[in-house]
C-alpha cells in the first residue's frame, strides 16, 4: 500500500497550491469590494439618464440630511455613548455594523448606504436570502439566533407568516407621518412599509388579436383565446398575486369559475416570470400577447430597450392589478436595536426612497419622494388595485393553491 503515500503527497501538494490560490483570489475579491464601490458609481451608463440621476445628488440630499439629522438628535438624547455621527469620511473602522437581510431582488445605488454611514457611523452589511418566501421561512427557522438585525422585503403576501412567528420588534419610524397611510398594514408598527407596486397583466400593443383588453373579464373573452400567460402561484410571486387578485375580485366561490374559464380560454402557466415573459410572451419571441407582469414593466421596457425606443411597447390592464407592499422590520434578537431603528428611519427617508424606483421598479412609500421622469411619463398605478389582508392570505393560501392546481390540471 505504499502507493498511497505518493498519491497522498501529491494530493496534499495540489491542495496547498489551490488553497493559496483561493487565498489570493479571496484577497483580491476583498479589495475589489472596497475599490469597486467607487469604480461602479456610474451605475448603468446610458440608462442613468442625467435627468433622473442628478437630483439625488443635489437638492434632495439636503432634505434627507434634515430627516437624518432629526434622527441623530433623538438618538443622541437617548444614548450618549453612541459613537459620534459624521466620522471622517471613509474611516468607518470604529463604526458598528448592522446586518440587513433582503430578498435577492433588492437593489440600491452604491452611494446611498455610504451616505447613511457618513451620517450615522453605522455600516450596513447586506445579506441576500433568496426570494421573499425563502427569506421569511429562513428567518423563522433561525429566530433564536437571527442572521441579521433588519429585514427588508417581506411583502403583504408573506407578512402574516412573519408576524405570527413574532419575527419583529415594534418600531415607529421618524418618517411615519410622511408615509402613505394606506400602506401601514400593521397597527403595532412591527413592520414599516418601504415601497409598493402593482402586479398587473401587460399586453403587447402591436400584436393584439382584437380590442385592447382592459378588464379581468377580457382575459376570458374567446377573442383572447390562447393569448394569456401567467405563472404558478406556488413558485412565482406575480403568479400568486394574480391568483389573489382573482380571489379578491370574484370572491371565495367565484374565483374558481373564473379560473375554469381561463383554462377553457387556453391560459398558459409557467413556473416563473422569466420563462413567461421571455419564453411565451411576444417580448421574448413567444406568441402570446398578454402576460402577468408589473405596472412598472412599461417604464422598464423603455429604460432598458436596445436600440432605444420613445415609448413602451407594452400596456397595462389596470383592472387586473394586485397591490404588493414591501416592508422592513427590526428582527427580534438583534443586539443593536438603536442602530436598527436608524436604518429603518433612513430607509423611509427621502434619500433612500427616491433611489427606489429606478433600482427596483416600485414606488416609494414616502409621499414626499419625487419620482424619476420615466416613471412620471410612462408609469402608472391602478386607481383601485385589488387586495386582500395579510391575514386572509396566510389563512387561505394553502387551500387556494391546492384547489388552483386541481382546476388548472383539469
Amino acid at each position: 500500500m505504499k502507493n498511497q503515500t505518493t498519491l497522498t503527497a501529491t494530493i496534499l501538494r495540489a491542495v496547498a497550491l489551490l488553497v493559496s490560490l483561493v487565498l489570493i483570489a479571496a484577497a483580491c475579491g476583498g479589495s475589489d469590494d472596497a475599490s469597486g464601490a467607487g469604480a461602479s458609481d456610474s451605475a448603468t451608463g446610458r440608462e442613468a439618464s442625467d435627468d433622473t440621476a442628478a437630483p439625488a445628488d443635489t437638492s434632495e440630499a439636503d432634505t434627507s440630511n434634515d430627516v437624518a439629522g432629526d434622527a441623530d438628535n433623538e438618538a443622541d438624547t437617548e444614548a450618549d455613548s453612541a459613537p459620534a455621527a459624521n466620522p471622517d469620511a471613509g474611516n468607518t473602522d470604529a463604526c458598528p455594523t448592522i446586518r440587513l437581510v433582503t430578498h435577492d431582488s433588492f437593489a440600491v445605488s452604491d452611494e446611498v448606504f455610504e451616505s447613511f454611514t457618513a451620517q450615522t457611523c453605522i455600516v450596513v452589511e447586506q445579506l441576500a436570502a433568496g426570494d421573499a418566501g425563502q427569506m421569511v421561512s429562513a428567518a423563522i427557522l433561525t429566530k433564536d439566533n437571527p442572521t441579521a438585525d433588519v429585514m427588508y422585503g417581506i411583502d403583504n403576501t408573506f407578512l402574516q407568516r412573519g408576524l405570527d412567528a413574532d419575527l419583529f420588534l415594534p418600531y415607529s419610524t421618524v418618517s411615519l407621518e410622511t408615509l402613505d397611510f394606506d400602506l401601514l398594514l400593521d397597527p403595532e408598527f412591527r413592520v414599516t412599509p418601504i415601497n409598493y407596486g402593482d402586479v398587473c397583466a401587460n399586453y403587447w400593443t402591436d400584436a393584439l388579436p382584437g380590442e385592447v383588453p382592459t378588464t379581468l373579464d377580457d382575459l376570458v373573452d374567446p377573442a383572447n383565446s390562447g393569448q394569456f400567460v401567467t405563472m404558478n402561484p406556488e413558485t412565482s410571486s406575480p403568479g400568486m398575486a394574480f391568483l389573489l387578485a382573482t380571489i379578491a375580485r370574484y370572491g371565495e366561490d367565484g374565483w374558481q369559475d373564473y379560473w375554469q374559464q381561463l383554462v377553457d380560454n387556453d391560459v398558459s402557466i409557467t413556473s416563473g416570470w422569466s420563462d413567461a415573459y421571455y419564453g411565451e410572451f411576444i417580448a421574448g419571441g413567444g406568441e402570446r400577447s398578454i402576460v402577468m407582469s408589473y405596472a412598472s414593466s412599461p417604464p422598464a421596457d423603455v429604460l432598458f430597450a436596445d436600440p432605444p425606443i420613445d415609448s413602451p411597447r407594452t400596456g397595462v390592464i389596470f383592472d387586473s392589478c394586485f397591490r404588493q407592499i414591501e416592508f422592513a422590520g427590526i428582527l427580534d434578537g438583534t443586539t443593536n436595536v438603536e442602530a436598527a431603528g436608524r436604518l429603518i428611519d433612513f430607509m423611509t427617508g427621502l434619500e433612500f426612497q427616491e433611489d427606489i424606483p429606478l433600482n427596483m421598479f416600485v414606488y416609494p412609500a414616502n409621499t414626499g419622494a419625487e419620482l424619476p421622469e420615466v416613471f412620471v411619463d410612462f408609469g402608472q398605478l391602478a386607481e383601485s388595485p385589488l387586495t386582500l389582508s395579510p391575514a386572509q392570505i396566510e389563512a387561505g393560501r394553502q387551500a387556494w393553491t391546492e384547489r388552483w392546481v386541481e382546476i388548472v390540471l383539469g
Binding site: 497522498t8 483570489a25 475579491g29 448603468t44 445579506l127 441576500a128 423563522i140 433561525t142 436600440p307
Partner: protein, 544 residues
C-alpha cells in the same frame, strides 16, 4: 490506516473526510430533520407515516424514481457513441469533444430551458402533432443534455486506458466487433459506468429547475414537493418527512449501486491510453456520426444561446458584452465581479473536493471494508439531498462559535464542494481499483525505483481520473444555483448563475442580452478551465 501528524497529534487520515461530511452535511441535515419531525420537542415523527400513506405522495415518489431511472438510462445510451469514439480513436478534435460535452453542465437551467423552448418552437415541436412543451419527454431530454458529460468523461477516460488484449483475443476467435463489445468490453466497463450512472441518477432524482421549467404543472417530484412544503406552505414537518424519504431512497439505491460496482471491479487492467488512429471508411463513418450526432444535440441549444447574446432587434451587437463591465441596477456588483466571485469559489470548492475526495478515494480503495463502505455512501448522500434541506440545515446549525459560518465567504465553496466530492470519488475509485499490479512489477523489473514506479504508473493512471473529477468539481461550482441560493450569503458575494437569474427578472432587451452574454462567458470559462485541467494533470501528457 495511515495517520497524519497535525500539531503533534496523530489523526487517522480517514477521519478527515468523515469529519468534513459530518460537520458540513450530516449535522445540519440531521438537526433540521430532527426538528422538522418534532423529535426535539418529544414528537413521534408521525408525519413520516402520514406522508408514506398518502396516495398523492406515493405517486410523487414513484414519478421521481422512474423519471430519474429513465433519464439515467437514456443518458447512458446517448453518451455511448461519443464515449466509444473518444476512448478508442484518436482524431482531430478528440480533446475538444471531451471539453464541449462539459459545457452544458454549468449552464443555468433557466437559460437552457429558454433555449430548449426556442429550439422546440423552431422545429415545430411545441404545437401540432408532437407537443414537447410541459411533458415528461422534455424533462428527460434536458436531463440527458445536462448529463451526457458525466458518462463521456469518466467512462471515456477509463475505457481509453483499458487493456485491449481480451477484445483482440475475442475477435481472433471469430467474434463480431459488436459481440466482442457486449461480451468482453461492456462487463469490464461496468465499474466506471455504474459510478457515472449513479451520479446521473442522483442529479436527476433531485433535479429542481428542469422539472419546474420544462415539466410544467403537475410533474411534482420529491425535490419540488420539499420546496413547496417548506416555502409555499411553510410546513416544515412535511418537508422534513419528504426529505427523510428522499434520503432513505437515495441511500438504499446507492448501497445497491456500490455493491454492484464492487463486485464488478476485479479483472480490469488499466495500462495507459490505448486509443488508435481511425482506420478504414467504416471506422471513419462510425466516428464521424458519433461525434456529430452528439454535437448536434448539444450544440443546437448552445448556438441559440450564443446567437441571442449577440442579437438585438435590428441586427447584431456587442453591447451585451460591453455592458457586463458596468454594474446593472439589478445587481449589487457588476457581472464581471460576479464572475471573479464565481471563479474564486470554484477554485476553493475544487480544492476542497480534491483534498476530501482524494483522501476519501484512497480510504475507500485501501481502507478497512466497513469504513470504506460507510465513507463511500456518506460522500454520495449530499448529491441526493434537497438544497432546501441542506441550506436550512446549515442556517440553524453552523451558527455559533467556531462553526459560525452563516454569511461567511467559506460556506459557499464548502456547500458546493459537498456536491462536487462525489464526482472526484466516482472518477478516481474505479481507476485505482483497476490498476494492474503486474504493471508495477514490470516497471520495477525494468529498473524503475519504487518512487518512479508510483509516480509513473499510479499517478499517470489515477491522476488522470483525479483531473477529470476536479474538472467536474470546478464546473459544478461554477454552475451551482440551488444550494448557493439557500445557504444565505453577503449580497456582494453574488455568483454568475444568481446574477443571470436576476438579470432575467425584469423586462428589457439590455438586461436579457446581458444575461445571455454572461451565460456564454460562463460556458467559455468552463471550457477553458476544463482544457487547462486536462493539460496539467499529473501525467503531464494530457492524452484525454
Amino acid at each position: 490506516m495511515r495517520a497524519l501528524r497535525v500539531g503533534g497529534a496523530l489523526i487517522p487520515i480517514a477521519l478527515i473526510p468523515l469529519a468534513f461530511i459530518g460537520v458540513f452535511f450530516a449535522w445540519p441535515v440531521v438537526t433540521l430533520l430532527w426538528r422538522g419531525l418534532g423529535a426535539d420537542v418529544g414528537g413521534d415523527g408521525s408525519r413520516l407515516g402520514e406522508v408514506l400513506a398518502n396516495a398523492r405522495y406515493q405517486r410523487i415518489i414513484w414519478f421521481t424514481f422512474w423519471q430519474a431511472a429513465l433519464s439515467t438510462a437514456l443518458t447512458a445510451v446517448a453518451a455511448l457513441p461519443l464515449t466509444w469514439a473518444v476512448a478508442n480513436r484518436t482524431f482531430v478534435g478528440r480533446r475538444a469533444a471531451r471539453v464541449l460535452v462539459t459545457v452544458p453542465f454549468v449552464l443555468p437551467t433557466v437559460v437552457v430551458a429558454g433555449a430548449f423552448t426556442a429550439v422546440m418552437d423552431r422545429f415545430g415541436l411545441n404545437s401540432g402533432t408532437v407537443q414537447l412543451r410541459h411533458t415528461v419527454a422534455a424533462i428527460i431530454l434536458a436531463h440527458v443534455f445536462f448529463n451526457v458529460a458525466v458518462v463521456v468523461r469518466s467512462v471515456g477516460s477509463f475505457w481509453s486506458q483499458l487493456d485491449r488484449t481480451p477484445e483482440q483475443a475475442a475477435r481472433t476467435l471469430g467474434a463480431s466487433p459488436w459481440r466482442a463489445f457486449r461480451a468482453v468490453t461492456l462487463p469490464r466497463l461496468r465499474p466506471p459506468l455504474l459510478a457515472a450512472l449513479s451520479i446521473v441518477f442522483l442529479f436527476t432524482f433531485t433535479s429542481f429547475a428542469i422539472i419546474l421549467l420544462l415539466g410544467g404543472l403537475g410533474k411534482a417530484t420529491l425535490e419540488t414537493e420539499i420546496f413547496r412544503a417548506a416555502l409555499t406552505n411553510f410546513d416544515i414537518p412535511t418537508a422534513a418527512a419528504l426529505s427523510v424519504v428522499q434520503l432513505v431512497a437515495v441511500a438504499a439505491l446507492m448501497i445497491a449501486n456500490t455493491a454492484l460496482a464492487r463486485r464488478a471491479s476485479h479483472q480490469q487492467r488499466l495500462i495507459g491510453d490505448r486509443a488508435q488512429p481511425i482506420r478504414g471508411r467504416r471506422d471513419r463513418v462510425l466516428v464521424t456520426s458519433a461525434i456529430w450526432g452528439t454535437a448536434l444535440f448539444l450544440a443546437i441549444p448552445i448556438m441559440t444561446l450564443i446567437e441571442r447574446s449577440f442579437a438585438r432587434r435590428d441586427g447584431f451587437t456587442l453591447a451585451n458584452y460591453q455592458a457586463l463591465r458596468v454594474r446593472a441596477r439589478q445587481l449589487p456588483i457588476s457581472a464581471l465581479d460576479a464572475l471573479a466571485n464565481s471563479l474564486a469559489f470554484a477554485v476553493a470548492a475544487a480544492g476542497i473536493a480534491l483534498l476530501i475526495g482524494g483522501i476519501a478515494s484512497l480510504v475507500i480503495v485501501h481502507g478497512r471494508s466497513s469504513l470504506s463502505r460507510v465513507l463511500e455512501l456518506a460522500t454520495l448522500l449530499p448529491l441526493g439531498t434537497s438544497a432546501v434541506t441542506l441550506g436550512f440545515g446549515v442556517l440553524i446549525t453552523l451558527d455559533s462559535g467556531v462553526f459560525d459560518l452563516r454569511a461567511s465567504w467559506w460556506i459557499i465553496p464548502i456547500t458546493q464542494s459537498l456536491i462536487a466530492i462525489p464526482f472526484v470519488i466516482r472518477s478516481v475509485v474505479p481507476v485505482l481499483r483497476a490498476i494492474d499490479p503486474t504493471l508495477r512489477e514490470a516497471a520495477a523489473t525494468l529498473g524503475a525505483s519504487p518512487t518512479q514506479v508510483r509516480r509513473e504508473i499510479d499517478l499517470s493512471i489515477g491522476g488522470r481520473a483525479l483531473a477529470t473529477g476536479v474538472g467536474f468539481a470546478f464546473a459544478i461550482s461554477l454552475g451551482e444555483f440551488g444550494a448557493t441560493s439557500f445557504v444565505g450569503r453577503r449580497s456582494d458575494l453574488l455568483t454568475v448563475p444568481l446574477a443571470i437569474a436576476r438579470l432575467l427578472g425584469r423586462p428589457g432587451d439590455l438586461l436579457r442580452g446581458q444575461a445571455m452574454a454572461l451565460s456564454v462567458i460562463l460556458m467559455v470559462v468552463t471550457a477553458l478551465v476544463v482544457v487547462i485541467g486536462d493539460r496539467f494533470h499529473p501525467s503531464g501528457k494530457g492524452v484525454l
